[in-house]
Symmetry: D2
């Protein structure tokens, strides 16, 4: 389906003295990253270091805003935030990363909502619209990265934003294109070979097989991988290697375009 | 001394359900403000509202970064932050306000360090240099607002930043141009009339009288006033009225220039 | 209905440099208080001062634990906290206030969940059970203060805790004994006289009139009042005065008992 | 010198999704621990789990209060906190852990100040007195754990508190009994064998050699070890094994007493 694939992961999810995942290894594998902005993880130092690293390596830098929830890592759904407040919350975080990026000569290319904020804006049309409006208000040249076909995808198009559409290498899909809940068996693929084959099929045919065995068409040119465990890093490396062997260009979504 | 005077105050120092001072009243009096960026006070909603109000009223918007210290309101001196980390801490906050400002069509004109961070960067050459470098790194068009003649003033010049120099309407000065410590008697002027006369003399003669009765030359075109109590608001209003009666132009430092 | 009435309010809801409401005035009116424990408001200094004041005035001291949410004042519903984590969250806060109280010679008498945590534990049987178990685990002599007849009331009885049952002086009730949502007209009574009459009827007849005009029986000996505005303080004072004029004893729930 | 040695380490220094060190390994080696109370690290869940584990293993549980500084891990010196506020800050944290401990059937035996708060209370007589008074105010049966001979040691005695005196297995000492600053070469011992020999000498002779080769008498029955790296865990295990081989009883300071 795609001529090119962007390999994407979350990054910079340490805080102060705490680290998470193997950012150094992932920076050798991925072509775009979503950097935590201090509300679920991340701090100004980590943000500055990651911004500089992405500049050096030609990786597209994204902001990964979240609910304000360090203790829950942004994974808890928080209800009752008015739309305007949600918009400001997102803009604050994106602006902070933009400032940090600017200070090292880098710039922010996209925004991907994190955790519960990501789930809620993927699902809920009103929250998705708020997210899209936040991004458009801060900089209409920013790309909104979302799950292909979700509410945020539609909201981004309505807001005339560029959209980068993700698919997950290691997550099972329902027939309707949503992710199988992590609480259900089979929701997460742990086998690197299986995940790699799945990504290849998606890249080559624009299809993946759902948990029920149906063929799902997915318009995604961003493959989301993880780096929080050694096995996750190995899976990501395996996917990159396989894509390149098949001659599929792995590069930032910002550089995709029709093959000559 | 000055053809024009900028009246400046700290603003947006509430947090969530808490408010502080009478921001609405001060927005009718001052011509530039330093808006809290969330580390000692302030939140994305307050920041967005203040940014929009300053745009509407033609007030110069400044960022008021601080140590990370909500419980101490940024007034506690924190030691042991490496220069690079201090720089990132400042950039994060300025960037956040820039993002918020951009989203409402406003832009940030200056940076004024808050509380203990302000005191330490006013005094310490190394920290002052870090502050100036932070501001220059995020946007070399930003003005650094400092106390006239302090370490930050010198550091801003060394970094080739524009400088806006403050004097305090309600604080007593030592002979060397530093402020009399708040712990000493007479450090704070509570009489609106006395503060007003002091400001007039500074505006007209570039001089003020120190706590020891000596004449101190002060190159300041920004007068810092407060709005945290009804008496402080009244003092600020009195100062503005007196300046205008004497024909001294009260407008944002960004619009100062030689009189035709 | 009751021989005695306890007048109760939330207290200590400032934070650092920020204050909220007129705690000093309320300490002259109420007989029990729920003191914020630092998660939605409150800090160790405010907690210590309030603990000492309640000791001096013979007021029953309660802990007012909340979700961790300073920016939302604990009013936002947070989903996805496992029961054990919710239990620990509550115990941490109650323990902190117990330590503070002990240091000034006072002790904590009850626990009343705040804001969204209060609403969710009033409504949801599972969360109510977690709250009751948390209180029982830290000290089975603590009283759980809840809305009369809610899920937390039942859970407290199941956990063999003492229960103190609140009614709200200034909130309209639905026919089923729940509060009319603040988003609906008439939800909050602003008239001190009307609120006072309502409290008198409740104290004397154990009844109040619902928003639909029906008579609702309510087994409550704690009347919750507010002190966040001057009008709220005046309403609270009016209620206390009226109760005393009718000969209804106003004293802490801890001292209630059958009249001789 | 001592008939018994207590092996002590800091524990529970993760936060939410972040972990630090190998707590499980250290729980097999040490006989007392200092558990973070949420201000520099730690959260209610980690605290509850560690409290339960210490109960199960017969390890003495200590509170490890800190300045409020998650982003700096409590290692930054914060100036300007009034003595009463510092006292309340400590009490809040100790109380929180006491509540958590009580809920799992465990109790807190001692308090050891963390990081910058530890250094400042070890050095400064006034802050040491505040620490001791805080501990005495919350529970005069608590032991204050300090560096042998420091200001906090003296303050604890003045406050009639029990004292447990630490020596560091892996830190070089100055001739006056203070630790060599981490910024100087040789400040930290990385060799397990050297650290073990040092501990043996201290246990058997009450002496250790300073960085200048002088003999320093040290009245310490608590040896502080670390568990933040695999090498640190191995060093701790080596020390325990060596002590036991020499017939020196390794058990909690709470159980020390003259040998029969």
């Amino acid at each position: 389906m795609s001529d090119y694939i962007d390999l994407n992961c979350d990054l910079g999810e340490g805080l102060g003295a705490w680290s998470m995942g193997d950012d150094a290894a992932m920076l050798e594998i991925v072509t775009s990253v979503n950097v935590a902005c201090g509300f679920h993880a991340g701090d100004p130092d980590i943000m500055a270091e990651r911004a500089a690293q992405t500049l050096e390596k030609g990786i597209a830098l994204g902001a990964h805003p979240s609910f304000r929830d360090l203790h829950g890592f942004g994974r808890r759904r928080i209800h009752g935030i008015p739309a305007q407040a949600l918009k400001n919350l997102i803009i604050y975080q994106v602006g902070a990363l933009q400032g940090i990026a600017r200070s090292v000569g880098q710039s922010v290319s996209h925004v991907r909502a994190h955790g519960a904020l990501g789930n809620m804006t993927d699902e809920d049309a009103e929250m998705a619209a708020t997210l899209a409006q936040a991004v458009a208000a801060i900089d209409s040249d920013l790309t909104l990265m979302t799950m292909a076909g979700c509410a945020a995808d539609e909201a981004a198009q309505a807001a005339e934003l560029k959209v980068a559409r993700q698919a997950f290498a290691d997550r099972a899909y329902n027939d309707d294109g949503t992710l199988v809940s992590r609480s259900l068996p089979g929701a997460v693929l742990h086998d690197a070979q299986a995940a790699t084959e799945r990504v290849l099929r998606l890249a080559e045919e624009g299809m993946l097989e759902t948990i029920n065995g149906k063929r799902l068409r997915l318009d995604a040119n961003v493959i989301c991988v993880h780096g929080d465990t050694p096995a996750a890093v190995a899976m990501a490396a395996s996917i990159r290697e396989a894509l390149e062997k098949r001659g599929i260009g792995v590069k930032p979504y910002t550089e995709h375009g029709p093959k000559p």
